[in-house]
Symmetry: C2
């Protein structure tokens, strides 16, 4: 047994009993009756004829897991990322600090980091032949300027780091030097795959069993419906800056044994979009509470933690925010102290 | 310090001093002067107007690293995957056994598993606006039937596991029950990005420093040129079933301090494609040897290890094959015994 421990009882290194990865879910998609088409594979080469007909494996989900030598979580901890991103969201921050994934492993959680269907190592499919829509690409500067509450607004991005720093929201804890790295994490996404994404998350929960799910942003679109389909497995949900959610209002009662936390960062009030997003997200929360579900809401500024962006898992105080989650999980009896 | 060890000196658990991930390389691609276009995002929705103009972050590479508590490799070990795949190639096998990545960490190597540009967590770019070619999609059954020397040939794939088993090449060590999982690892690829892929691998080597690179299949298209651009860093290359390679014949001399191993599995002689691939790969090898580079070639059947497919890191004897590599690395003085 490792015999040296940090002052807080954590190991001075990561002692894992296992780590690995797998794909779950997905389906075989058949393309038939389509005419061959010309494709240019390299500029300058003559186009080649491609026959798209055949069977393809699509809609699967990739997950990677880390099981600590000494498990202290009462359930596995699943980390689900937001829209044009992958599980990298939770790994090392783009400026090289420890991310939530490793931090929670260190605390004794069996951590599963997944890539949603469409994204990262989950792969993607022929469109519009298999996925009936066009992909969405994100400009590199978008999230500095808008949506993530990092910079001061449209036009705030600059390739000059000093200008970038000056254009952060006042008091922002997002590290300006991490922005280019965050832009490298962006991947294309679709808007036509909600059911496939949901089904694959259900397959993940079926594979893992009892779990707590930390769902960020777009992932909150699915997490409540996943819990409603697998209430016996989903013991807790941490909705990190959730978006307006379409849970199944007819089945709120099955969520009564699932502990829930809504977690919000800073700068919402002065943002052009976020007050409406929050109100939309709170509508389903309020219906859950009315239905007897235990839901706690933490607005970080109200407990003295200020400056957090939508990407609070990358902010300079990211481990302080993780510890808010950790304390809440312990309070729910989901962690062995 | 962990005090319990296996009979071979390895830890009974994985003791890591660190793990994490990063992106390296890439560039900003600017699209300008293009007309807005209509995109259908969800079937049934009205098309929306998309303005593709703007700046996008493209061509970066994702890598994940695991640093053992007790490092015994004399350099980092980089694991580079083949064409329509990602770094998942080297993780848990699709039937749930330990993969090469974890095995080499356990042996004391600092392991870096990367996704090539285009694939997995490295992301992909608008085409043909940024990448001047069409992506290539792979049918789910292709590699059972052809290319990877798993099944008996065209038509060998079956969704029935018993038929699949019966249709393996006689003596195959590929686990039939892993094939559906391998199909889930397939991702689209392009054929127009060789320079971007090469540049990102150079950026990875610049970031990591002294290294040994295990390059599988398509990755061998790049690994020798990377070593020629960074000969001081690349101390060894393990070319696992290399493809015909375009190294720089004018700079073979800079490779004289790089130890090299060519590693081949089974069933090459009776395959319709592989003898020519091997001969093509050996042409550059022979020019390196003539130029004074140290190159060893191991054909696994000739040392009594039979039945290996092109995906030998997934075969049932995958750790035996890893140990052939490990023994060779130790013999080169790249491992502290």
């Amino acid at each position: 047994m490792p015999s040296e421990h940090g002052a807080d009882g954590s190991e001075p290194w990561l002692a894992l009993s296992d780590m690995g990865s797998f794909h779950v879910g997905g389906r075989k998609a058949i393309i038939s009756g389509k005419a061959p088409r010309l494709a240019t594979l390299r500029p300058g080469d003559a186009p080649v004829t491609i026959d798209p007909n055949g069977t393809y494996q699509v809609d699967q989900l990739y997950a990677q897991y880390f099981i600590p030598h000494r498990v202290r979580g009462e359930a596995a901890l699943l980390l689900w990322h937001g829209a044009p991103l992958t599980g990298v969201t939770y790994e090392t921050t783009p400026d090289g600090r420890e991310g939530w994934a490793t931090h929670f492993v260190r605390l004794g959680w069996s951590v599963y980091v997944s890539d949603a269907v469409e994204r990262g190592r989950s792969g993607w499919a022929l469109f519009p032949d298999i996925w009936p829509g066009d992909p969405v690409f994100t400009r590199h500067d978008r999230y500095f300027d808008t949506d993530f509450r990092i910079g001061k607004g449209p036009g705030a991005y600059s390739p000059d780091l000093e200008v970038l720093r000056a254009n952060l929201l006042p008091g922002s804890r997002f590290p300006a030097e991490a922005y280019e790295g965050l832009a490298k994490q962006l991947v294309p996404r679709w808007r036509c795959n909600d059911e496939a994404i949901l089904d694959a998350y259900v397959a993940l929960v079926d594979r893992v069993g009892p779990c707590v799910i930390v769902a960020h942003s777009q992932a909150t679109r699915y997490v409540f419906r996943v819990a409603q389909r697998r209430p016996g497995h989903v013991r807790g949900i941490v909705a990190v800056e959730p978006i307006p959610i379409e849970g199944d209002d007819g089945r709120i009662d099955v969520l009564r044994d699932t502990r829930m936390l809504y977690l919000w960062g800073d700068f919402l009030e002065t943002d052009p979009e976020w007050p409406a997003i929050r109100d939309g997200a709170h509508a389903f929360r309020d219906r859950m509470i009315a239905g007897g579900v235990s839901v706690e809401t933490i607005e970080l500024p109200k407990i003295g933690i200020r400056g957090n962006s939508h990407m609070m898992m990358m902010d300079t105080n990211n481990l302080d925010v993780a510890d808010v989650i950790q304390s809440w999980l312990a309070k729910q009896g989901l962690y062995r102290s």
